[in-house]
Symmetry: C6
C-alpha cells in the first residue's frame, strides 16, 4: 500500500502532561478534526507522532509555508510521455488510504487555500479535486490534524472562523519543570541534575517573552546544550552555542542570557 | 450522465425556520439566481443540499477562495497525448447538464472573475467560454446559488452592484433556541436537556460578537461538544475542546467562555 | 461562417428614450466607435442587442474584468498536436468577419491593454496581432462599442484620454417612470398598476445613491419582484427577497428600504 | 520580403506646421533615432506615416502598453512540432529588413525594458537577442522613432536620461486654427465655415486643460462631429455625442462644454 | 570558437583622462573584478570596449534592467525536439571561453540575483549553475566588469556591500573641455571651433544638475548636434532638436537651455 | 559518486581565532545543524570550507537570494524526451550522499521556504520532497550549515524562531589586527609591514560603521589593495581603487577614507 512507509515502527517518546491522550483518542473515534495550539518546540509534533503510533495509523506530515497552495495539498497534473497525468498530494493520499494527515504551522499557509478542507471536515467527509473533476470520499480511518503557534498570529495571518469552527482543539505549553528535565535527560543522556539547571535557565528566558525576546528557549535547545556538554564542550561555551546565540542577535539580550548561564554554572 | 454522482440520494436533515422553502421553490420555478446571506455554520449549505434533494436536481458545489479564477469555474485546457483538450469546470458542467451550481463563500473569490456569470443570470442564460470560443446555452433545469457571510465583508471584498442586482436574496441566522437544541440532539444523539444547555452557552458567546469575538459558537460546534460528551469525555473538558479553544486564542475571551460553561455545568 | 451563431434571431425588446437609435445608426454608417455611459442595469446591453438585431449584424460581447488582457481580446497561442497554433479572440473574430464587438464594463479592464484597439479606431481600421506578426484589416461591417458606469470611475480606473477621444458617446439613465413601468410589465407579465408602485419604490431607493447606497434598484430587480409576486409570493416578502436584500447588507439601509415597501403596500 | 506589407501605398495626408519635414529627413540621413513629443491626437502618428511614405520605407508600428516587454519588441521562442523556434518581434523585423520602427506612447512601456534599444541607438547599431544568443546588425535603412505625451508623464513613468539622451527630438502641438480647420474639412468633407466654428470650440476646451479637463478636444474629435453633422445629425446633438461626452464624465465640465457649443451654434 | 564574433576588430576611439588604462591592465593581470562608476554618456562603455580591444579579449555586454534575472546571466533550459536542453547565458559563455563580461547599468538588475556572481569574484572563480547541477570553473582569461551611475542610486536600488566589496573600482566623469571638444570633432567631423562652443553649452547644462535637470548634456548629444549642423540644419534648430528637447520636458528648463544656445550662437 | 567534485582537494587557508574548530567538530559529531553569524567578508565561508576539508566531507554551497525558493533547495521537475523527470536540488544532493550543505546569506531567502529544512533538523533527519511524493532519509554524514550577517537583519528579513531554535550557533567578527595582517600577507604575498598599515586603515573605516558607512573594509579588500601595490600601482591609487571607491559613493565618506590612507602613507 502506498502509505505503508508512513507507518511509525518505533514508539516516539512522549511524556503526557494531562488528559490529552484520552481526548485525542475520543476525537479520533468520532473522526473529529483536531487543532493543536502552542509555542515553538513544546512537543506538538512529537505528540501527533506518538498518537499515530498508538493508533497504528500512518502519519503524513506537511510543514506549511506561505507558498503552500491548495495544489500542494490535493495534488496536481504533471506532464508524462502520454500527456498530463494526475499526482495525488499528501492530503489526497491520506484521504484515500486512511492516514492521519498533519498540517504543521497551518497559519503560515494561505488561509484561502484552506477552504479545500471544508467538505472533509463536516459530515460529507469528501475531498473535491476540482481541477481533476473528481470527489474523493474519505477512507473511514482518515483524520485531519493541524497545529499552529497562537503567539505568532497577526490579524493578516489567522485561521478564518469558518475554518476554525470545524475543529476541536487542544492547547499545549512547555512541560512542567520536573517533566522537562526528565525529557532533556532522556533525549540527551545527560545527568538529571545538569538538566534541571538547564530547565531553570530556560524558565528565565521564557520570562523575557515579549520583553525583548520573541520566544524563550525550547526543550530542543536544552537537549542540544546537554549533548554538547556530554561531547566534552565546556558548559558555558555549550550554553552560548546552543542557547543564547540561536535565540537572539540583540547584544543586550545576549548579555542577559549569558548572565543566566553564569548565575547557574558560574 | 456525468452529473449523476452529484444527485443526493438521502434527504439532508433540515429544520425550516420560516417560508424559505417556498421562496426557494418559487425562485427555482422562475429560474432566478439566488444569494444566501448569513453567519458561519448557520445552515446555508445544508439548506441548499436539502433543496437540491427536494427538487431532485444534482448539486455541484464550489468552495470559493482568493485563488478561485474564472478558469476554475468554467474550465481550462489541459495537455493530453494529442495536444490540449478542454475540460469543463464545475459551473460549465452544471450549465450543460442542468444541475444547481452552488458557489460557497462567493465574496472570497476575485469579484472581477465573477463577471463570467453575468450572461448566465439575465435573460440570455448563456455561459461564454471565451478561451474556447464557445457559448453554452444553459440547460432549462440549471440554477445558480451563491452564499456569503455579510459580517466578513469589507469594502475590498464585496460583490459589485452589477453582480448583486442579478440575484434574489434570502438571509439566514442561527436557528431559534428550541430548533437549535433539536438539531443538536438529532445530529449528536445526545439528550435534549444537555443540548438545551449547550444552546444557552452558544447564545452567551454570540452576544460577544464584535465585542472580542469575531463569531459566536456555531451549531456545528455544539454538535461536536455533545458527541465528545457522549463518547465519555467530562462535560467541562469537552466544552473547552469543542467550544472555547476553537473559537479564540485570546486568554481573556477563553476565560469568559469557560465561565459560561462553568455557569451552566459547574 | 464562424460568427453566424452570434446573429440575434429574435428582436430584443427595447423602449427608446430619445434619439439614441438615430444616433447609433448614424455612427454605424460612419463606422465611428461608440462608448455608452450609464448606471448598472439601465439598459445599455439591451440597447446594443437591439441595434445589432436592427442592423442585422452579429454581436460578440465580452464582459471585461481586471484580468482581461490584450490576449483575451485578440487571441493567443495554444498548444496542439503539432505544436502551438493561434486562436482568435472575440475582438479578432469580430474584426475579421464584420461583427459588432461589445466590450461591457470596459473600465474594469487594464486600460493599458486597451491600446490594442487604437489602430482599429482611427482611419487605419487595423488590428495588429503583435504576438502573431499579423495585422488584420477590419471587415467593412465591423464596429466597436464599449460601455461603462461613470459613477464607479476612480482615478485609478479610468479610460485614458488617448482612448476616450477615439469614441463618440451616448449617455443613458434609468428610463422615465411611465416607460419603466411599461418595461417591467412587458418583461414580467404583471399588472401595470403593480409595476408603477414598484417603479415608485425604485425611485425612493435611487434617491439614496451616495447617501448609504452605492446604487439604486435597477429595472431588472423590479422585474424579479414582479415575477415572484406573479408566482404567488406575498408582495412584501417578494420585495424583500428581490429588492432590499440584494441591494445592501447594511441593517439601517435594509430597514429604510423595507419602509419604502411598507409605505406602498402596507 | 516579409516587410513589404508594411510599405504605405497611398500618401497619408499631412499638413506641415514648420520645418519638421526637413529635420526628419536630416535625422534619417544621419540615422539618428527620433523622439516625438506632443498632446493626444495632434498628428504625431500621421507625421511618421507621412515621412515613411515620403522616404519609401516600410513602417512597423507598436502601440506600447504597461505589459509591453522586451520580448514583445525583439521576439520570443514559440513551441512548434520540432520544439521551440524563434519568432522575430516587430523591432527585430524592422532591424533586419530596414524598416522604420515606430514605438507609440513609449513611456507606457516598462522603461527598464527600453534598455534593449540602447545598443541600437549608438554607433554599434546592434540589437542583441540575449535569449537567442544572437546579435543582429541593423540594416542600413533602419531607423527608430518613438513618441509620447509629455503632459502625462509622472515621475514613475518617465524615460530614463540614459535612454532620452540617445534621441533627437521634435515637439508637436495642435495645428494652428486655420490649418486645423482645413484638416477637419479635408478629412470630413464638411464646409470650411462649420469646421472653423468647431476649431473655435476646441480652442475653448483646450483652455480648460489642467483646470477640470485632462485634455482639450483633439482634431480627431472635430472630424467626428463634422462627419455626424454631414450624416444629418443636428449640430448640437452631434457636438454632444462627438465632443462633450467623450471628453469628460464630470457634470459641471459637461455643462461648460455644452455651453461652448451653445455659444457658437445656439 | 563560439565567442569569436565578440572580438573587436577595430580600435574603439578612446581619449584617456588619467591613469585608468594602467589600472585596468593591472586589475586584469590580477583578474580582479572591476566596477566603473560615472554619469550617463561619459564614456564608460567606450572605455571597456577600448580595453577589450587592447587586451585582445572578446567582450560580452549585457545591458541590465529590472527584469534581468539570474537566468538571463547564466542560462536556462529551452524545449527542443528531444525535450529540454540547456542554453548558456552571456555570463556563462564568457566564463567558459575567457571573455570579458560587461554588465552595464548593473544596479538596475535585481541585486539579489547578483549573488550568482559571488563565487566567480573570489578565489574560487567558479560559476555554479544551480538549475543545471553544474559548476563551471572560470577560463583563466575571464574577467568581470560592471558599471553604474552613482547619481541614480536610491536606497532601494543599491549594490549590497557583500557584492560591492568583491570589486575594485574606477570613477569616471565627463572629459575635460579640451578633450571633449576633440572627441566631438573626431566623431562628427565638425570644426573644432563649433565643437568648443557646444562643449561650453554642455557645461552650462551640467551646472543645472540637481537644480531642475536630472542630468546635463552628454558628449553623445553634442555629437548629434554637430552632425545635424554638418548636414545643413540651422545651428539653433539643431541645438533645440539634439540638445534641449531630448534633455527635458519642463518649459522653464527648455527656455533656459535655449537661452544658453542663444548666448553662444545668437 | 555524484558529489565527488564537491570534495576539497587542497587545504583552504584558515587562521583560527578561538575554539571554533573544536565546537564545529563537536557539532558535526552530534550532527547538530549550525548557524554562523558575522559581518561581510570576515571569513565565515572560508571557515566552512576549511572544516569540510578537515572532516573530508564534500561541501555543497548555495548563495541564497530573495528568489531562492524551496524548489531551488530540494529540486524540481524538468521536461525531457519522455515527459517530466525530477532533478535533485543542492540540498537533496547533500542529504542523499552525505555532504555538508552550506546555505550562505540564508536570511535573504524567503523564510517561509525555510520550513522545508525543519524535518531535516530534528531527530527525524528527513527531507520530504512534497512535489515528488518522496521522503529522503538523510545520509549519516549529512550536516546543514547556514550563515548570515546579523547587522543586515530587519524585521521583515529574519529567521523565524521555529527555524532558529533548530540550530546551534557560532559568532564571527573580523580577525584581530595581528592575525588579519598575517592573512593579508599570506594571500597577497605583500610585506607584513605594508599589510599592518592596511589593517590599520581598515580599523578606521570599521569605526565608521553605522556612522555614514554600512560596513567597514573587509579583509578581502585589503588583499586586493596589497595585490595592486605588488603589481606596481602607486599605494594611494591602489587604496582608492581597492578600498575607498568600492566601499561608498558618498563624496564626504570618500574624502574621509582617502584621508585615512593619506594619514598612513602620505
Amino acid at each position: 500500500m502506498p502509505i505503508t512507509p508512513y507507518l511509525l515502527t518505533e514508539e516516539p517518546y512522549y511524556q503526557p502532561v494531562d488528559s490529552e491522550i484520552a481526548v485525542y483518542e475520543s476525537a479520533y473515534r468520532l473522526r473529529l478534526p483536531l487543532m493543536l495550539k502552542g509555542p515553538t518546540g513544546c512537543g506538538k509534533t512529537r505528540f501527533v507522532e506518538h498518537m499515530a503510533w498508538r493508533l497504528k495509523r500512518p502519519l503524513i506530515t506537511l510543514a506549511c509555508n506561505e507558498d503552500t497552495t491548495a495544489a500542494d495539498l490535493v495534488g496536481r497534473y504533471l506532464l508524462g510521455p502520454d500527456g498530463t497525468f494526475w499526482q495525488d498530494g499528501p492530503l489526497t493520499l491520506a484521504v484515500r488510504h486512511g492516514a492521519i494527515c498533519y498540517l504543521d504551522e497551518v497559519v503560515e499557509m494561505r488561509q484561502d487555500s484552506m477552504v479545500v478542507i471544508h467538505p472533509l471536515t463536516d459530515t460529507r467527509r469528501l475531498l473535491p479535486l476540482d481541477k481533476k473533476g473528481e470527489a474523493v470520499n474519505a477512507h473511514p480511518a482518515f483524520q485531519l490534524v493541524v497545529s499552529y503557534n497562537p503567539d505568532y498570529q497577526s490579524t493578516s495571518k489567522d485561521l478564518k472562523q469558518s475554518t476554525r469552527q470545524r475543529f476541536c482543539s487542544l492547547d499545549f505549553d512547555y512541560p512542567r519543570a520536573e517533566h522537562e528535565a526528565m525529557i532533556v535527560a532522556h533525549e540527551s543522556g545527560a545527568a538529571l541534575a545538569l538538566c534541571e539547571q538547564l530547565v531553570d535557565i530556560a524558565a528565565c528566558s521564557r520570562a523575557l517573552r515579549g520583553r525583548g525576546l520573541d520566544e524563550g528557549m525550547s526543550t530542543r535547545m536544552l537537549i542540544h546544550a546537554a549533548r554538547l556538554i556530554g561531547d566534552g564542550q565546556p558548559v558555558r561555551l555549550a550554553c552560548r552555542v546552543a542557547l543564547s546565540l540561536p535565540l537572539t542577535d540583540d547584544p543586550d539580550m545576549l548579555e542577559a542570557l549569558d548572565g543566566f548561564v553564569e548565575a547557574h554554572f558560574g
